[in-house]
Symmetry: C2
Subunit: 258 residues, 2 copies
Amino acid sequence: MCELLGMSTKYPMDICFSFSGLMQRGGKTGPHKDGWGIAFYEGRGCRAFHDPYPSSNSEIAKLVKNYPIKSSNVICHIRKANSGKVCLENTHPFIRELWGRNWCFAHNGQLRGIKRKLKLELFEPVGTTDSEFAFCWILDQVHKKYPNPPKKDEVLWNYIKKLIDHLSEFGVFNILMCDSKYLYAHCSTKLAWITRKPPFGKAKLVDDDMTVDFCQHTTSNDIFTVIATVPLTANEEWSIASKGDFLVFKDGIQKNTK
Amino acid sequence: MCELLGMSTKYPMDICFSFSGLMQRGGKTGPHKDGWGIAFYEGRGCRAFHDPYPSSNSEIAKLVKNYPIKSSNVICHIRKANSGKVCLENTHPFIRELWGRNWCFAHNGQLRGIKRKLKLELFEPVGTTDSEFAFCWILDQVHKKYPNPPKKDEVLWNYIKKLIDHLSEFGVFNILMCDSKYLYAHCSTKLAWITRKPPFGKAKLVDDDMTVDFCQHTTSNDIFTVIATVPLTANEEWSIASKGDFLVFKDGIQKNTK
């Protein structure tokens, strides 16, 4: 199994603190030593760092940990390979362009038989994981139904939810996905999130001997949500998602998808 | 105008030496301070570093300079903005997937009126540069003519050459492009390359006080070609491309495209 980390913010922020916790699980406090990747959205652009080596002693992970990249949406993944060998092309998150927007996707779980039962048309995987295949299938279906973005965002959310429900029938499908505008999260077995807003307090990482006082890194206008497979801090109250939950975030807060 | 740097190798090698020279032109020995990017192919995977800040004092550029990433095809670009504002989404190289392969593209020059006169279908730019638009147009045309890769690679080269010739009518089109298998280069106004093979010697950068003895970094089996808008070393003989030259490289050597 892999670990997921996502962030949605009102104003661009860095993710150094949460990333510090997660990267310890890549070979140190956790068994996820088969590579890692992180994608940062900045405006319409998206830049990603991928490394097929363990994050706990990666030079690139050190850079990401110490170099504050300000972003409004972040998706990060550390991998414990179960489908597809350990190599760069199998390293999440995966990125594709649709409608002139960067889409990004990371997955925790396994989907059995998906390659046999679903057909792809336009979007094709570069690597061999079931995860990238599932992402390509989602984009294929979205593109087929909406060659141009639907006018109402809720229409898109509902369609994506339907596609995710279908994919979940193949196995465990905890995911984070971003279409440049919204950050989507789905829970099959485990997913937790926390929305931090004023008054900000202190947080202590579970995986590293590190505490941050968010007061010193935020303004009174900041709001941000962090999403992870398992809570990253010990002294805060995280919301725990249930099986089948589909969450949509924008500007740091959860949207009402009912 | 921008600067291009590419490398094609027989066996994966790092590009630290050539990159050290080029990054000095990003705000120090050259005026190309509007961001930079580099893409490394490793197997079927491709990982890129993008930074909308000058390369000469970029933290990420320092990492790339000092951390030897072994790659068989590399495309690097430093930008002097002339079309599209300075931001992440306008930072080369651009990457898209076609046929389950990563395609990568960087451009030096300007194409006037291209957005008015050419239509896009499947591939859409995320940013506002004429360069990304041209890349999307190439992929659109290739996909339309060959929904699957043609059996003979030469057929693809000839078609790409035809598309490039058409785009060159809009202005200056010095480019580097890679389809995961081949590294393509086109010269409108300036492009130079050098193929290094045994016996290896010493090379001295034009832009930095740095000399490398390739004997110490290679084996007797290595062959590699470096391509740049302007020669990067002072003591070696570079081949200078002519207007309209279309070059194809694989495994470090130039293919015969006649």
